[in-house]
């Protein structure tokens, strides 16, 4: 490709130069030469003024380009200077009023009090803990605030919105698509209320645990028992989303 492009370029350059030589020969004709000279004399000052005006305009635009570049560099520097955000302990302002999550469990219908993550988790520049089989929540304030033993490990996928104290432990999350999730951990085997008319089925979670799923108009719920506790994930998104979060939940203590 490059080789025949070179050949083409060379051929075109030679054609251009030949045309120029032909034109030079034509300019020996006094009529054409005089006409060209006459045009030059008449329009020289105007065209030169145009080119000079462009120079001034270019110098103004150059100034703005320069200023914009400096601002961009400063902005980029500010962004890179900021510490890496700890997604799990990210201080997220909570919306006022009751949370929108309403799973069909009586306990959840009590007016819960949201405990904002900010109340206990101070922002920190330290890197977040890596998700491992047993997640250790290195920044202790949130780990202390979360009274349960299991928690969502995929910090990149889910953003913690708040913790809800009560007879069970409950945490609310959102994902990048804006879907809301609620994870609940009951300290003893419990049968949480399930939406009436929901379609029930048993599934295997990635670790082999058998879980009960309930899919209804209000959302999808996954319920399973582990270590004498009952865990539940509810989302208004699809059952697949609920199962994805369920697969993300691991023991942290």
């Amino acid at each position: 490709m490059a080789k025949h492009d070179d050949l083409l370029e060379q051929a075109l350059a030679e054609i251009a130069m030949e045309e120029t030589n032909r034109l030079k020969a034509q300019l020996h004709d006094p009529a054409l030469r005089d006409a060209a000279d006459s045009l030059y004399v008449r329009h020289r000052s105007r065209l030169l003024a145009k080119l000079q005006a462009r120079k001034k305009r270019r110098s103004y635009t150059r100034f703005f380009q320069l200023a914009a570049s400096v601002l961009l560099v400063i902005g980029a520097w500010q962004v890179f200077k900021q510490p890496v955000k700890d997604m799990l302990n990210k201080p997220v302002p909570l919306t006022s009023g009751a949370p929108t999550f309403v799973p069909a469990t009586p306990a959840l219908l009590e007016t819960p009090t949201l405990v904002p993550a900010t109340a206990t988790a101070a922002p920190t520049a330290s890197p977040s803990p890596e998700p491992t089989a047993t997640l250790t929540l290195a920044p202790t304030p949130l780990a202390d605030a979360w009274g349960g033993t299991y928690f969502v490990t995929s910090k990149e996928k889910y953003t913690l919105k708040g913790l809800v104290p009560g007879t069970m432990h409950r945490a609310e999350f959102t994902d990048a698509d804006g879907n809301a999730y609620t994870f609940a951990e009951y300290p003893q085997p419990t049968l949480p209320s399930i939406e009436k008319g929901a379609q029930l089925q048993y599934v295997h979670l990635p670790d082999g645990t058998v879980a009960l799923t309930a899919e209804g108009p209000q959302g999808a719920q996954v319920i399973w028992d582990v270590d004498g506790r009952t865990l539940s994930v509810f989302t208004q998104a699809s059952l697949n989303e609920a199962l994805a979060m369920a697969g993300d939940i691991q023991k942290i203590k």
Partner: protein, 186 residues
Amino acid sequence: MLFLLLVDSPQDADFLSDLYQTYYRLLYGQALCVLRNAQDAEDAVSTAMIRLTSKIDVLRSLPCNKLEAYLVITVKNTAINAYRQRKRRVARSAGTVEDLQVSDPGTSPEHQVFSSLGVERVKNAIRALPQREQQALMMRYFQQLTDDEIARDLGLKPVSVRALISRGRARLAEILMQGGDADGQT
């Protein structure tokens, strides 16, 4: 990056002014040869010089003989475009506008043809192309204009420019394969 912005100095305009004053006879002579009209020739040279402000780097890099050829071809193409636009306006007012037909260029045969050829045969084949395709190839491969710049000059969409160039290259390959040349022996 900031340094590059500063290096592109206001002396560009002086450089262009010098070029204009050195080569004015060639520039106006070329425009007059194409347009046969003093006013149109003046407009074409003016337009070409203004457009050349975006090609300062290319101009500075050219040796003298190529530089004057570059200027001449730029004015020639500008003049041809002006002529076409004038003709199109007349045709439009008469209701006989021709739309550009864009077809699939099919570039594969040229790959096999070019490498074994001499420049003279390629030159002859280029001369055998329709003027529009010659012009587009010249703008792309000699003047080093971008698709957008060619589109602006030819009054086409960039996609049509790409098609025009591909078609020109394919036709060139076809001419070369058939052993044709500028004398119309295709």
